[in-house]
């Protein structure tokens, strides 16, 4: 009975949401406080009901109610509790329910943002609710999570063992918060198109929502890449896989949007561009959902795909992107922009160039993702586009972005007033040049390695220089902690932290891409393998039983300069319920790099095949992503009223 309650709750929510949409459209011209109140209450009820329904589904997973189709297909009584819970979103139906839950939560939170003017707010809630009802219809008609089975199975089929992992338990929720969070800025844009009301306040209200979504996307993507790094056992962290691209494109666009909306907040220019970017960002999120969920692209990540649902998603896409674009076509020429000019050397130009390059980069990723499909549809040729394409197209486009990222914060609005501007650039160039030479002397690698490493140094120095000069200009002496906080609230520390994150990330990429070394060995128990200054001793190999798997575990001792460092235990796990095997790499992470050890096939007579990677600075990749997210959070805090009123 309990699952039926969840189903009924969803049906009721769908009816309420649909009713809200009609009510909103009917009262489009006069958004009184009554209308707002109705929409607010509706959003609250939607959120509560979907939340309850999600709790019920989670409850069914925890209690292993195998009369539900998705529970019997994705869970098992022997699975640890945390993976029973993460099993809720480890499948198509459950992940959509999570999507809708997050959407209703965002709608609920934004509906109480009364600082927004009422006509705009009504339309924002209206657009959000419209998307909500479309997705609820999708769930109810094509992918009902509460579907029962005819024949009750004795036990479930289990969750794909690759997905039974703490990194991946959190990856989809974070990514979805990012995807769905972009719906808010989308609704802001559509509401502006509908009501024609757009001003600096619009941008000010919208910016935190974009930043929240952007932070969640950053962390979500980083978690996914971290999972791929240690779980798939290939030693790589980014594969330019279509599903990864699907999450990366909204990230790139929302990065452009975060920067662009700052201009709009200062003065009323680039209105159309900001609106278009907001629509695009969410469109790419929808495209991400579409790509992963429809089976349009087949990839290693397509764990839950089904082509028959594609048509429905295409309809949702058609409505939720097509209609705003029609509105854009009609309305976008009617906005009044400020008449204001700016120099070539100014913050506006820098952000404009940043936007230009970021959107071009997104386009190259989009082409790389869709081109194989396009070719297949036209003449049946099957091609796959790999890192070679992206290294040749994406990397050169992003390089100028990083170059600019270091110097743009020196610039002021409208025109350059910094007298030391040329000096700072000279300083940056010298430091970067010296750093490059040092890098070259340390270990000679390709030109690209040098360029990538130098870019990281350039950006790092740039951010530090900017910070120091800001402190100098302020001429403050920090006598107590309050003064320090006051100063911090004056400068945009979030920007610095996020940009430092990019520099750290780049350093990690340089280390991982260009300075890593790989060893393939076949060794018996007792053998010693030497890799550079380190050496590995093969101690033993044994069978061990886990909670829902059997494991073949090898034990190695790692020595560096003949000193004991650590034990390494790579595993091969066999999951009897799912009849599948996973490779658990043994990774010793340190600040300066990882030792990554994978156990392959073999036996005690002929030896075991081993793959060992030395990955310098690899953890900086995810560390950098964390810095970026923290920078985003800082900038939200700084822009909140508490700090503005200090």
């Amino acid at each position: 009975m309990v699952p039926e309650l969840g189903h009924i709750l969803l049906i009721i929510t769908f009816s309420i949401a649909a009713m809200q949409c009609v009510y909103w459209l009917y009262n489009l011209k006069h958004a009184t406080s009554d209308v707002i109140l109705f929409l607010q209450k509706g959003s609250l009820i939607n959120f509560l009901f979907i939340f309850l329904s999600f709790v019920i589904l989670t409850f069914s997973f925890i209690t292993s109610d195998f009369s539900l189709l998705i529970v019997s297909n994705n869970s098992h009584t022997l699975k640890p509790l945390i993976y029973k819970i993460s099993g809720v979103w480890g499948n198509h139906e459950g992940s959509l329910l999570l999507w809708v839950l997050i959407l209703s939560a965002f709608t609920f939170f934004v509906s109480f943002n009364t600082a927004i003017n009422s006509r705009l707010l009504a339309s924002i809630i209206g657009v959000q609710t419209l998307i909500l009802s479309l997705f609820l219809a999708f769930i109810l008609f094509t992918s009902n999570p509460f579907e029962r089975v005819d024949v009750l199975p004795l036990d479930g089929r289990g969750l794909n063992p690759l997905l039974q992992d703490p990194g991946l338990a959190l990856h989809p929720p974070m990514l979805y918060i990012g995807y769905v969070g972009l719906s808010v800025s989308f609704s802001f844009a559509v509401a502006a198109l509908i009501t024609g009301e757009i001003n600096k306040d619009w941008a000010r209200q919208m910016r935190p929502w974009i930043t929240v979504a952007w932070c969640a996307l950053t962390i979500g993507i980083a978690l996914g890449s971290w999972w791929a790094y240690y779980e798939l056992g290939w030693g790589g962290w980014w594969f330019w896989d279509p599903v990864e691209n699907a999450s990366f494109m909204p990230w790139l666009i929302s990065t452009a949007l975060i920067h662009c909306v700052r201009i709009l907040e200062k003065k009323l220019i680039f209105i159309n561009w900001t609106i278009l970017l907001s629509i695009l960002a969410f469109s790419f999120s929808l495209l991400g959902t579409f790509i992963v969920r429809s089976g349009l692209l087949t990839s290693v990540h397509a764990f839950a795909s089904d082509p028959s649902r594609g048509v429905f998603i295409l309809i949702i896409l058609g409505i939720s992107i097509g209609v705003p674009l029609i509105l854009y076509t009609i309305k976008s020429s009617s906005f009044n922009e400020d008449k204001s000019s700016f120099d070539i050397v100014s913050k506006e130009s820098a952000i404009l160039i940043n936007n230009l390059f970021l959107t071009t980069a997104t386009l190259t990723v989009l082409i790389g993702t869709l081109y194989p499909l396009f070719l297949d549809a036209i003449n049946g040729n099957k091609v796959s586009i790999g890192p070679a394409y992206y290294n040749a197209t994406f990397a050169p486009i992003m390089a100028p972005v990083v170059l600019l990222m270091a110097i743009a914060p020196f610039l002021s609005w409208k025109k350059n007033i910094d007298k030391n501007f040329t000096k700072k650039i000279m300083f940056l160039s010298i430091v970067t040049f010296l750093g490059g030479i040092l890098l070259h002397l340390m270990e000679e690698k390709s030109v690209f390695a040098l360029m990538c490493g130098s870019l990281s140094i350039w950006l790092f120095t740039g951010v530090i220089t900017d910070l120091i000069s800001k402190i100098r200009e302020a001429k403050v002496k920090f006598q107590n902690i309050n003064q320090f906080f006051f100063f911090i609230s004056k400068i945009n520390l979030g920007i610095h932290v996020a940009h430092i994150g990019v520099a750290i990330f780049l350093a990690g990429v340089t280390g991982e891409q260009f300075y890593k070394s790989e060893y393939n060995e076949r060794k018996k128990v007792g053998d010693i393998i030497s890799i550079g200054t380190k050496s590995l001793k093969f101690d033993k190999i044994e069978n061990i039983d886990g909670p829902n798997y059997n494991s073949l575990m090898a034990t190695f001792t790692l020595y560096e300069n003949n000193k004991f460092v650590s034990k390494l235990r790579p595993e091969k796990r066999f999951y009897p319920n799912e009849k599948s095997q996973t490779t658990e790499a043994a990774i010793l992470s340190s600040f300066w790099g990882d030792t990554y050890l994978v156990l392959g096939e073999g036996d005690n007579e002929t030896g075991w095949s081993l793959r060992i990677y030395n990955n310098p600075l690899v953890s900086w990749i995810w560390g950098g992503a964390c810095f970026m997210a923290v920078g985003g959070i800082l900038s939200i805090i700084q822009n909140s009223s508490r700090f503005r009123n200090v």
Binding site: V151, N272, G322, L325, S332, S333
Partner: protein, 186 residues
């Protein structure tokens, strides 16, 4: 009036329109057409049918302890094995053709990853042309047969060898141009 319509503002809409158009074509091809499946030749052509037991499902008397489909019964005659599923849209398209086919040859249906009640409803709605129906709950039988997706149809000759495989729904044109010529030859 400030409503000066700029043609450039329609650009995003136009681009989007083409992307949707293109996606529809791809989806349509994924659903209906099976060129990609056809291009992959079956490894089983000219070989004996896989020796895997197929549990028979009796849709009139469910309680009967179902045994396995016995292919020896069809020795010395040409017969058809058709993988289908109630959840598969193209199977509905080919249902009338399978009906036609069953007038000439015995057709054995294998319900792929299907639920009993759904299959029963499917047969009620679209007719039951099958001599016997087996079920493949886990999808293992389909793997043995090298099935790419449903629907998929195999022609088996008098010696029990697979002589022809058709991936995807059999359209009337396929029936006329591919099945009938093969049958005439034999």
């Amino acid at each position: 009036m400030k409503h000066k319509f700029k043609i450039l503002n329609a650009l995003p809409l136009v681009v989007f329109f083409f992307i949707v158009l293109f996606s529809s074509v791809v989806l349509y091809k994924l659903k209906i057409n099976n060129r990609s499946e056809r291009s992959i030749a079956s490894q089983l052509i000219g070989k004996n049918i896989p020796k895997i037991l197929i549990p028979r499902e009796n849709y009139i008397k469910r309680n009967i302890n179902s045994d396995n489909i016995d292919f020896k019964k069809y020795h010395n005659q040409i017969f058809v094995v058709n993988f289908f599923a109630s959840w598969c849209a193209p199977c509905k398209i080919e249902a009338p053709i399978i009906d036609e086919l069953s007038k000439i040859l015995p057709v054995i249906g294998i319900a792929y990853k299907d639920k009993f009640l759904d299959t029963k409803n499917f047969l009620n709605d679209f007719g039951n042309p099958y001599k016997e129906i087996g079920i493949d709950r886990s999808g293992k039988i389909a793997i043995e047969w090298g099935v790419y997706g449903v629907p998929e149809t195999f022609l088996i000759n008098k010696k029990g060898e697979i002589i022809y495989r058709h991936a995807g729904p059999i359209l009337y044109s396929d029936f006329k141009d591919e099945f009938l010529p093969i049958l005439k030859k034999k």
